[in-house]
């Protein structure tokens, strides 16, 4: 294997920016927690994009797995164990198990039918969290818990009160998750997913069990989405049912489309734009969502392949 600088340029740029973020974020007029939020939302969007951009299947119910991860982590810290590690494991398992069970029920559906049914399943979890006051805190959200310092052997990392440490903790998990997704997408299995996106009929007539492959892609996507959910809960030390609401699923779809769903890093760019816009506009107006909507419409009309899609086209020309 040779190291192709031109091909690796996007990766190098992304990692340099992310690793140095604590050094420049305040000079850019922002703050570290916002950077952490970008990384968390990017992980969720990249998880969704595994299914959306690389398998060609549109889910409008990924908030369910994001929320299950968030509640799994929050409930663990609130009721079970004061351990950040356990919280993440429980949250991810919750999302993975739900996806494994729901997957076989929906992988036969395509297009808008698939999207509608994923919304329906997602709303089930939303209403459970909303109604089950005694455990989840209902509409007020789950409070009275905090992410815990990290103990690794004899060492302790303070990710509780030190925002920069927490940023690097989230970034390390992000790096691992993204590496696994990238590795899978370059494998023969990953190429069968891209084949399904490109032409399902052709893929079926190559002897691929398309529903099985979509189910596996769905599982991988939902599991990483749950991981993003656990980090989201840990970031805020709080979860409420909106993390499970279907508009949250829409947010992830918007992020993927804005950044570019055919580019690996597109959702990261989309997440940066979305989180920053949300932060900036919501300080100016309570109607910030209208303006995010306008930006989204503009992107879809003028850059149908997202922001990174445009950059890539430039590079090709």
């Amino acid at each position: 294997m040779t190291f192709d600088v031109k091909k690796q340029a996007p990766n190098i740029i992304v990692w340099v920016l992310l690793l140095t973020l604590p050094l420049w974020i305040e000079h850019a007029g922002s703050y570290i927690q916002l950077g952490t939020q970008v990384v968390v939302m990017a992980l969720g969007a990249m998880a969704l994009n595994f299914l959306l951009g690389y398998t060609g299947v549109l889910s409008f119910g990924h908030a369910a797995y994001f929320g299950l991860g968030a509640y799994g982590a929050g409930l663990t810290l609130r009721y079970l164990a004061p351990s950040t590690g356990s919280a993440i494991v429980v949250g991810v398992l919750a999302g993975m198990v739900a996806a494994a069970v729901i997957g076989p029920l929906i992988v036969r559906l395509r297009g808008v039918y698939f999207a509608m049914v994923t919304i329906a399943f997602g709303q089930v979890f939303y209403f459970v969290a909303f109604r089950w006051n005694a455990v989840t805190g209902g509409d007020d959200g789950l409070t009275n818990w905090k992410r815990q310092p990290l103990h690794v052997g004899p060492m302790t990392f303070d990710i509780q009160s030190n925002a920069t440490n927490f940023y690097f903790f989230v970034l390390a998990i992000f790096a691992l998750a993204v590496a696994v997704m990238a590795f899978l997408l370059r494998s023969p299995f990953g190429r069968t997913l891209i084949a399904i996106r490109e032409n399902e009929r052709r893929t079926r007539f190559m002897g691929i069990n398309v529903n099985l492959h979509i189910w596996l892609s769905w599982m991988i996507s939902c599991t990483f989405m749950a991981l993003a959910g656990t980090l989201y809960a840990l970031l805020n030390n709080f979860v409420d049912p909106r993390a499970l609401f279907w508009t949250q699923s829409g947010t992830f779809v918007i992020i993927c489309v804005m950044g570019g769903m055919r580019s690996f890093w597109g959702p990261l760019v989309g997440a940066a734009i979305f989180v920053w816009l949300q932060d900036y506009l919501s300080s100016l107006t309570p109607n910030w969502q209208s303006f995010v909507g306008l930006v989204f419409v503009a992107v879809v009309l003028f850059f149908p392949r997202g922001v990174l899609g445009i950059l890539r086209r430039r590079a090709l020309e």
């Binding site: 899978l184 299995f189 190429r191 069968t192 490109e198 052709r202 079926r204 190559m206 002897g207 691929i208």
Partner: protein, 249 residues
């Protein structure tokens, strides 16, 4: 028993009888053309062979194995590969990637989340070999969706061959092509047939292609078998002339 044995298959869509009691036996290494006027039921007949549609009556067997209830993707594993009347390729991938995917599938890697040690070179060599055989090397790095119709068809045929089939089914391989492209595709099919002794069943409209390629010809008309024989026999058959060749003239 013949290699491909189609025994008295029928397909009804409600009251419409698209295919009505057709039998066909194809021997190993044979190139068989199925012809007939528009609406003769050729494509439905093809779909019964590949399992896209279940027959209302009758049976299909490949190499002695009855295929009743075997779905299309399983039929591929048994050695059936097909192309479509409207080319089905991966438009946003390069030609090389279009070929690479079926090569990996044929190598049994469909669910492998990593490339097994030592396989990468073998896969690459096979891809380059197929690109070369299909005359696609010069366009290997272009996106399949932006190729000419003829090149897309050649790509699709090589994708089917990459699966190492025992039976290759081609649904109107030269449909909608100009003379040059038609010749190129016919040459490609002929070479595949001659060099690998591949068993081929093809539907085709262009009579020059049919008479040039086929060992035997089956003629369908209104869903029923009208005649079967060598190209010379079919040319001489008066029923065929009346029903089909007469129309074309």
């Amino acid at each position: 028993m013949s290699f491909l044995n189609i025994d008295n298959v029928s397909k009804h869509f409600g009251s419409l009888v698209a295919v009505d009691g057709v039998s066909m036996k194809v021997e190993k290494g044979e190139c068989r053309a199925v012809i007939g006027p528009n609406g003769a039921g050729k494509t439905t007949f093809f779909n019964l062979i590949t399992g896209m549609l279940p027959p209302t009556k009758g049976s299909v067997s490949l190499d002695g194995q009855n295929l009743a209830g075997v779905d299309p993707s399983q039929r591929v594993k048994l050695g059936m590969a097909r192309t479509f009347q409207i080319t089905e390729i991966f438009p946003e991938l390069t030609v090389r990637e279009n070929i690479r995917i079926p090569v990996e599938i044929a190598a049994g890697l469909r669910l492998k989340p990593w490339m097994p040690a030592g396989m990468a070179g073998q896969i690459r060599d096979r891809v380059e070999q197929l690109l070369d055989e299909g005359g696609l090397t010069r366009i290997a790095d272009r996106f399949a969706g932006e190729l000419s119709h003829g090149d897309q068809r050649a790509c699709e045929i090589m994708m089917a061959l990459a699966l190492k089939p025992r039976l290759l089914l081609l649904d109107e391989p030269t449909a909608g092509m100009g003379d040059d492209e038609t010749h190129a595709i016919a040459r490609l099919i002929k070479r595949i047939h001659r060099e690998s002794h591949m068993t081929i069943v093809l539907i085709e409209h262009d009579m020059r292609v049919v008479f040039n390629l086929a060992d035997r010809i089956t003629v369908l008309a209104e869903g029923r078998p009208l005649a079967e024989g060598t190209p010379a026999e079919i040319t001489a058959n008066e029923k065929v002339q009346a029903a089909y060749l007469g129309d074309a003239a």
